[in-house]
């Protein structure tokens, strides 16, 4: 095994991280979103105030991610005491923004985890075995990289059909290449080092060598890269929802809420900013969420892996 990084080194890096104001901002924003996601049922209770149960209390929603329709007016209604972010298409924007946080985490984390795992497997095989296996896998990677991501996702969703799960599948299929390349490059480097050669000489099986010796040494840059990709993944997913390919209408998803907004963006004649809240709140939620990940990824990269700059 390689030398574990001495504790003092780790502490020095943490100190550097905590002294970086943009890292602190990023981590605080992220913590805020995590709290919102965890406590969503308490912040925006998943009930339909229009439907009462036998006790006269509002009925709980079967699926809290489907925003309840509160009023039948499709025109946006400005913020009020009960609906602090206003309403659009008969739905409460505040509710959508809060539950949309969960959707954003769900999409971002699932896609990142699966696509990174796929990338690690492909990159490990390619890097460890080399030769023609490497050649073929890397050519495939090149082909996947040369297709514009958003368009590829659009092609796949038209084949699979629309929906959030289809969008996520498309994003995994076209999202593993970065991790694969990084892992491969790292493995090529580590492979020649003494401890791996020693393990090989001892006759340890390839699979265990990759698992025990190589991955722990290369996983860190991959994780940094994954955290940096979170932001753009969430943007792409929202973009697809915005185009009407992703989450169905009324789903608590920032992108599809903005899709509603499109029709109202130009306001009424005479007062053009009438519906500002319909863009502002879901839009800001998205920007801050992506910003949080970008700041965190940036800071991690600066501190832990200056080579990635």
């Amino acid at each position: 095994m390689s030398e574990p990084k001495p504790r003092s080194e780790f502490r020095r890096m943490m100190r550097k991280l905590l002294r970086n104001p943009s890292a602190i901002l990023g981590f605080s924003l992220l913590a805020f979103f995590v709290l919102v996601a965890i406590f969503a049922p308490y912040i925006a209770e998943p009930v339909n105030p229009q439907m009462l149960d036998e006790n006269g209390k509002p009925m709980r929603l079967d699926n809290p991610y489907i925003m309840p329709v509160i009023t039948w007016s499709s025109e946006p209604i400005p913020p009020s005491k009960e609906h602090p972010f206003g309403m659009i298409q008969g739905r409460d924007i505040f509710y959508g923004v809060v539950w949309g946080t969960r959707t954003a985490f769900y999409i971002g984390l699932t896609v990142t985890l699966i696509s990174t795992a796929v990338g690690i497997v492909i990159g490990s095989i390619s890097g460890y075995y080399g030769g023609w296996i490497d050649e073929i896998l890397m050519r495939i990677t090149d082909v996947f990289l040369s297709i514009p991501f958003l368009l590829a996702a659009m092609v796949l969703t038209t084949i699979l059909g629309n929906g959030l799960d289809k969008v996520m599948i498309a994003m995994v299929v076209f999202g593993w290449m970065g991790a694969a390349r990084l892992i491969r490059a790292n493995i090529l480097q580590v492979k020649e080092e003494q401890f791996v050669l020693a393990a090989k000489a001892l006759g340890i099986k390839d699979f265990f060598i990759i698992l025990r010796h190589i991955l722990p040494n290369t996983i860190f840059p991959v994780l940094i890269q994954a955290s940096m990709r979170m932001g753009s993944l969430v943007i792409t997913a929202a973009g697809l929802s915005f185009l009407g390919l992703g989450a169905p209408l009324g789903y608590a998803d920032w992108g599809s809420m903005l899709n509603f907004t499109r029709n109202w963006i130009l306001g009424t004649s005479g007062s053009s900013m009438t519906y500002w809240y319909a863009v502002f709140y879901p839009g800001m939620a998205m920007v801050l969420f992506v910003l949080a990940w970008n700041l965190v990824g940036d800071a991690l990269r600066d501190v832990f892996d200056p080579r990635l700059k």
């Binding site: 038209t158 943007i235 499109r262 910003l291």
Partner: protein
């Protein structure tokens, strides 16, 4: 393979053959991408160099913060804001390709269409009013498309520039007595551009994908909007056709980048 003979099938969305639908709409997309490319490259590189030279000073922090915020803005959110402010409030930059009166003139048979790019054709026809009208319509999408990517280019340029500035040949240049201005703009910048050129490929992909959402928001009838409508209506032929077309453009773009690469790096020229 019919596709190889140029027959991509019938476009339900465009109500014409796919290839015809694409070629007819491509000039609008091309015009948008070209207008966006110049501010992105110019401003992105300029600010990236500035930030690197003023490393850790106020200007550097400021530029970086604006860039990372810009990079965090989803293009459709930014586009909606641009539309809201510059059209709804200020009334400067309307959506669409052209105003109605201009559209009618452009469609008339004796209006010359040489490049099919609205602004250029207007100048060729000597119609300065149409040129201005086309310009007014393209500014909003161009701002939106370029905002995201200058942030990207800025970051790449900055880090590449920082790396180059720590190289020994920069110290050699200083030890020769080269003025600081030339050290940066001659010795360092030439070298810093090499990695920047390599990410230009990713940028072309980004600009192209960006046109899809931006054309939808600003209601420009380019191939991006065609692809988006086709995808929503599950029009396979059109979606596949446009993706194929985008991929071809991408290959051409990468070819140009390879040539640029050789221009910037003499070490590549040999082999």
């Amino acid at each position: 393979m019919n596709a190889l003979q140029g027959d991509l099938g019938w476009s339900q969305v465009g109500k014409e053959p796919v290839l015809k639908a694409i070629l007819g709409r491509f000039p609008y997309t091309l015009e948008l991408a070209l207008y966006a490319l110049f501010p992105v490259v110019g401003v992105g590189i300029w600010l990236g160099v500035k930030a690197a030279v003023k490393r850790d000073k106020f200007l550097d922090h400021f530029i970086r913060i604006v860039a990372i915020i810009g990079w965090s803005f989803p293009d459709f959110v930014f586009g909606l804001l641009v539309l809201m402010i510059f059209y709804s409030v200020l009334g400067w930059f309307p959506p669409g390709n052209l105003s109605l009166w201009a559209e009618q003139i452009v469609k008339s048979p004796n209006y010359l269409k040489v490049t099919h790019l609205l602004t250029i054709d207007a100048l060729i026809n000597g119609r300065f009013d149409i040129f201005l009208d086309a310009l007014r319509h393209i500014v909003g999408p161009v701002i939106t498309l370029s905002f995201l990517w200058w942030a990207y280019l800025l970051r790449i340029t900055r880090s590449s520039m920082l790396e180059v500035l720590s190289k020994e040949y920069v110290r050699t240049a200083r030890a020769k007595g080269v003025p600081e201005r030339d050290v940066i703009h001659k010795h360092a910048k030439r070298n810093a551009m090499i990695p920047v050129v390599t990410v230009a490929g990713a940028m072309v992909i980004g600009l192209l994908s960006g046109t899809v959402i931006i054309e939808v928001i600003f209601n420009r009838t380019g191939i991006g909007q065609l692809a988006a409508r086709a995808a929503v209506e599950l029009d396979y032929a059109t979606v596949l056709g446009t993706t194929l077309f985008y991929s071809i453009i991408l290959v051409l773009g990468n070819l140009i980048i390879d040539i640029l690469y050789a221009v910037f790096d003499p070490r590549v020229r040999l082999s």
